[in-house]
Amino acid sequence: MREMLDLYLDNELLVETNQSVLEHLGFCRDCAAESERRVELRRRLKEAFTLEDDDERESENLGRRRVQLALDRERGPRISVRIGWAALAASLILALALGLAYWRIGNISKQANSSEVNTPPPPPSVLIAAVDRDAVENHKVCALSYPPDWTFDRQRVERELTPRFSPLIHAIDRNRTSYELIEGHICSYQQRKYAHLIFRSHGHTVSVFIEHDDPRANPKSSRPREIAQTSYTAYQVASVDTAIHRIFLVSDLPSVENLALANQLFPLTLGFIQKLELRAG
């Protein structure tokens, strides 16, 4: 009977056998007591491994976020093999048709000449749109993945922001806004590396990104040293440049509110970044 007790408790016996165990437990006190002890042992065992402390919960949240980011990366640019082949075939057909058309109207030589000319760089507005878009996408995959009950852990955030950016937390502390800082870290998106601060208030999540900006690669001269704002999908992006940094604020707030918040948060960040740049010479 003792051998069958575990199978009975696991609900793995046939109905008839189950019934006979049940009947036996009805009159055998020893087995009934043993059954209760085993149930209790399982309950305690389960309790031992399912109780969580704060550290465990935080570690789990970080693990969950990490997997979510990996899944987002996996889902993002991946194109199925079938679609890839179809796109390649369509491109080839299109190229063939165009080539034929040029040949027919006798413009092949003209086309050959023009193909020798280097492709001009995209206009500054296109580059600006691309950096704003990356900031929004990073906001979506990173900032919006934090659960609503995420709490700020100063020590960890200071560690994650590295000594270079961690003093920013004190600057924000000294100048509180209605938005609460919930997270800060260094993160990457599409080969861009950002210091990322995440704020929350009234159900809105706001990201402030600070990116080291290569003046040779980006169209700095075309952007004034004042806050510019663009929108991308449902998000507003306010941005401003310093000598070698670009600062973004991304949110789903209405345009006016996003700009107002940028006017509150950017001066703190700008002051800190400019000091950083001065120290770096």
Binding site: L41, T50, G63, R66
Partner: protein, 185 residues
């Protein structure tokens, strides 16, 4: 269509993140490895989500992928395959009865459980902590159902033996300070 697949995946598979990570933390050497393997499990689950049959146990499916990923990881680490004699403990020495009032702390129960040899520990964990059926455990571990039953039976007996030993040690007279430290009073 893609959004719907993503939503289904989050609802069916990502919902089991906690259980999967809990199992990973119990069977991996360290937290970092556990998190790496959980991430790889989810990436593979996403890639083959089309093969998952709705209505079947998604958690067991994830566990199965996890144990497969883990076995690959162990091979890649060029570790010796797990060699353990299932006969190393004589059946007769294992108690068929729970000779303890379970006056033990959760920490002591955890420690006793952690000392079980791996095949038994995993079987007991999947059954008693995660609540999988024998058939599901057999699929997850890719072993016959009879092996699962045998591992469960021995694993539980070993655990009972360890707990009995611990409980009898606790019954020995000790100072108030020691008891306080252990969290029993």
């Amino acid at each position: 269509m893609a959004t719907s697949r993503k939503e289904d995946f989050d609802r069916l598979a990502f919902a089991h993140f906690r259980e999967l990570r809990r199992v990973a933390l119990r069977v991996c050497e360290d937290r970092e490895t556990a998190d790496d393997l959980v991430q790889e499990t989810y990436l593979r689950a996403w890639r083959s989500f089309d093969k998952f049959e709705p209505g079947t146990n998604c958690r067991a499916w994830l566990f199965r992928i996890f144990f497969y990923v883990r076995s690959e990881y162990r091979k890649s680490q060029a570790r010796q395959p797990l060699v353990f004699s299932l006969d190393y403990v004589k059946e007769s020495t294992l108690p068929s009865q729970t000779n303890t009032s379970l006056d033990l702390t959760l920490e002591e129960i955890k420690r006793a459980f952690a000392e079980l040899p791996e095949p038994f520990r995993i079987a007991v964990m999947l059954s008693d902590i995660e609540g999988l059926k024998y058939r599901e455990i057999a699929e997850v571990l890719n072993v016959p159902a009879g092996t699962v039953m045998s591992r469960l039976s021995r694993g539980r007996r070993m655990l009972r033996a360890k707990l009995t030993t611990l409980a009898s040690r606790n019954d020995e007279p000790c100072s108030v300070e020691t008891s306080k430290k252990s969290g029993r009073i």
